[in-house]
């Protein structure tokens, strides 16, 4: 089966610094992949390369059957890739209403007005934002803004949705609610997604497959059991420790142990 999103030997450099170093990764249609890694490991650069917002110096980015980028050439511009995105800071357009934020991409992609109105109404209801259609982002609560950002990405019915740590810096209860919402939305739509996070608990809540990045490289990819069976690096081990409530090896007092 053709991957929905595939990177083959992708290298992306900013000056002398390689943000991505020969990255190869694929996401199957309908699969939700969690991309994990410490800060500055290249997770966001990978998303930007897939979105077409950064052009890799070498390697190929494929979206389904189409080649989007090859060896430094942007073959599909960002707006031609049919992707949806949720940024960490949400990037809601402050001068547009909720309806306007959701409708912008639909209009740009030529969706007929009547159909667009229907899709917006259905999505607004689905994410629990009914009644806020005419409000601006500045008039919404933090949780409502998160929902608008998610709705804005999904209302486009994208071939894949990319989420760049969208749940960072929000409280635990809200994060639990939004994770549940994301899981439901992905399942209902059979959505292909790449969910960037540095938190394995969050990843496990939405994803079926996991990839771990360090220093611009994919150091391990597979199911959670694959990671458990043979963690490729100490960082992967520490992620699993955190997930399972173990004191990491090397910490004071430190043999691996389970918290009761």
């Amino acid at each position: 089966m053709t991957a929905a999103v595939a990177l083959e030997g992708v290298t992306l450099a900013y000056g002398d610094r390689k943000a991505l170093d020969e990255v190869t990764l694929s996401v199957a249609p309908g699969e939700v992949l969690a991309l994990l890694g410490p800060s500055a490991s290249g997770k966001t650069s990978l998303l930007r390369a897939v979105l077409g917002l950064a052009v890799p110096t070498s390697g190929t980015v494929r979206l389904g059957e189409e080649v989007a980028t090859r060896d430094g050439c942007l073959l599909l511009r960002p707006e031609e890739r049919g992707l949806g995105v949720v940024f960490q800071d949400l990037a809601l357009w402050p001068h547009l209403t909720v309806e306007g934020n959701l409708g912008f991409g639909l209009a740009a992609r030529g969706v007929p007005r009547r159909e667009a109105v229907g899709r917006i109404a259905a999505m607004v209801r689905r994410v629990g934002l009914a009644g806020t259609e005419r409000r601006h982002p500045g008039d919404l609560s933090g949780g409502q803004r998160q929902r608008v950002a998610i709705a804005r990405a999904l209302v486009l019915e994208p071939r894949a949705v990319l989420l760049d740590e969208p749940l960072a810096s929000i409280d635990v209860d809200l994060r639990r609610d939004l994770l549940a919402l994301l899981r439901e939305l992905f399942a209902e739509g059979g959505t292909t997604a790449v969910h960037v996070t540095h938190d394995l608990r969050e990843a496990v809540a939405v994803a079926s497959c996991f990839a771990v990045m360090e220093e611009g490289r994919i150091v391990q990819q597979g199911a959670l059991d694959d990671l458990r069976r043979a963690p490729a690096t100490p960082f992967v081990g520490s992620l699993l420790d955190d997930l399972e409530g173990r004191m990491p090896v090397g910490e004071p007092g430190g043999e691996p142990r389970r918290v009761p």
Partner: protein
């Protein structure tokens, strides 16, 4: 925001500093404007006469209409240029932008002189037809629009640079560049270009020399002629400017509504890496347009050089300059220093939303948006008294006028810098026992030395370019260079006037080049 920054000792120091800055603004702008309102009954009757005199009222309407047209044309040139320069992949955008922006730092009158040597009847490209367009209201609109378009370009470019990059990226994922620009970037940067519209309208309405040179009657010229021309009648001048106070207050209200509340929130330059929007097959045409605008801006300077060189103006210029460059430089430098000091104290209080800061920020804006004739007549009414001759009869009155009119530059630029500085840096110093002065001199000054230098440079250049205010009350024998060129233009030899204009251009270029170069080399 509370806590250490509001500790009694620090608060007292800040209040003393703010009171001193407030007193300077009061003497320079509030008191002169207020003095217009407390005139004798005859002045008010004069104002009523103005409003009921059909010809004067028509002049007022005409000036407002011309300023509106200049603003519309400057926006239609400057907004697309700002977008092209700041956000698209046109070739060599910043060199073009620098060339385009340079005339912004010159009095428009000098540019009008240059255009005259291009399109006047005897100009390089001139004919009777071009001359008839040049010496008309259309000529005034075209010249001022080209002169002020760089203000729009610069503010739009800065506004776009200050937007959160992810707003643009989120749109790029869904839409083509043109749609991203028109539906996302320009609306999101609206405070910047609306502010530029206010600035251009204000400058256009205050402009005196260009309409007078092109023999187009405008309201400020009517005020000027009653202060020193054949129509000398200072009482009438007072009557004429009273209606303009209302205009100034209206502009202030618009500025407060459009930009006031947000002016400190959007000035941080973007830190993220963002690809420029690809123009595709339009890239060549867009590059051509940007560079054409750059050459359009400097074309009048080339014409001035041609006229000065062809008539031997350069060799005679020295004798005509006198002490004017020194007067310009010395008064502008002193004024810029005071402006920066006021800007630091008031800008700090405004940026940190501390008591009094917002009010003094509004006062500085009011003095700038008030037509120069209003401020000038107010300064004359307040300072032209026997006991104050030591100020009014010296170059000191130029410093007072410059500080009043351009204090906004210091307040807004330094306020924006301080707003971008984490409050915790000051709070940490306050918690360590530092009072207001120590925080200002040990934390903010070293942190923003380069920004403060640029604010000083900007204030200096705006004081150097002033003509419309200084021409109303320059002291005998102490003409700034701009006034010297303006007064010589009527009767002086053309090549010499062109050479003097170029001397002003050179002085501005040297100040900007040397100052800018020094500041860029200094570590941030």
């Amino acid at each position: 925001m509370g806590g250490p920054l509001r500790s009694p000792a620090g608060r007292r120091e800040r209040e003393v500093a703010l009171s001193a800055a407030g007193a300077a603004l009061l003497l320079g702008s509030v008191a002169p404007l207020a003095s217009l309102l407390v005139q004798e009954g005859s002045a008010w009757r004069g104002a009523l006469d103005v409003l009921t005199d059909a010809s004067i009222f028509a002049l007022l309407v005409r000036s407002l209409a011309l300023s509106a047209l200049v603003t519309a044309l400057a926006l239609s040139l400057g907004v697309p240029l700002g977008v092209l320069v700041a956000r698209t992949d046109v070739a060599a955008p910043w060199p073009a932008a620098l060339l385009h922006a340079f005339p912004m730092f010159l009095p428009p009158f000098l540019l009008a002189l240059g255009w005259f040597h291009l399109f006047g009847a005897k100009g390089l490209l001139g004919s009777a037809a071009t001359s008839s367009v040049f010496f008309s209201a259309a000529g005034v609109v075209l010249i001022l629009a080209v002169a002020f378009a760089p203000v729009v370009t610069a503010l739009v470019a800065l506004g776009l640079e200050s937007l959160d990059p992810s707003l643009e990226e989120a749109a790029r994922v869904a839409a083509r560049p043109l749609r991203v620009v028109t539906l996302i970037l320009l609306p999101a940067a609206a405070p910047a270009w609306l502010l530029s519209a206010i600035v251009v309208f204000t400058l256009a309405f205050s402009e005196l020399a260009v309409p007078m040179f092109l023999r187009v009657d405008v309201f400020p010229a009517a005020v000027f002629s009653r202060l020193g021309g054949l129509d000398y009648a200072p009482g009438e001048a007072l009557g004429l400017v009273l209606p303009l106070l209302g205009l100034a207050l209206l502009l202030l209200a618009v500025e407060r509504r459009l930009a006031g509340a947000r002016s400190y929130a959007v000035l941080g330059l973007r830190s993220g890496r963002l690809e420029r929007l690809p123009l595709g097959r339009w890239r060549g045409a867009a590059t051509l347009a940007v560079w054409a605008a750059a050459f359009l801006s400097v074309a009048p300077l080339v014409a001035l050089a041609w006229r000065a060189a062809s008539g031997g103006g350069f060799s005679q210029a020295g004798g005509w300059l006198g002490g004017a460059p020194w007067t310009s430089l010395s008064t502008a430098a002193i004024a810029a220093t005071i402006i920066v000091a006021i800007g630091l104290v008031v800008g700090h209080s405004a940026a940190r939303r501390l008591g009094g800061g917002g009010t003094l920020d509004a006062v500085s804006v009011l003095a700038f948006v008030a037509p120069a004739a209003v401020l000038g007549v107010g300064l004359i009414a307040l300072w032209n008294r026997p006991g104050l001759r030591w100020v009014y009869g010296s170059a000191g009155i130029l410093v007072v006028g410059y500080v009043a009119r351009y204090a906004v530059i210091g307040v807004r630029t330094l306020g924006a810098l301080i707003a971008q500085t984490p409050l915790h840096l000051e709070e940490a110093a306050a918690a360590a026992g530092a009072g207001f002065w120590r925080r200002l001199t040990r934390v903010l000054l070293p942190l923003h030395a380069r920004g403060i230098g640029f604010a000083w440079l900007l204030a200096l250049v705006f004081c150097l370019r002033d003509l419309e205010l200084a021409v109303l009350f320059y002291p005998p024998g102490r003409q700034p260079l701009t006034v010297r060129i303006f007064t010589l233009e009527a009767n002086g030899p053309e090549p010499v006037v062109a050479a003097l204009a170029l001397a002003h251009v050179a002085m501005t270029a040297v100040v900007l080049g040397a100052g800018g170069g020094l500041l860029w080399r200094r570590p941030a």
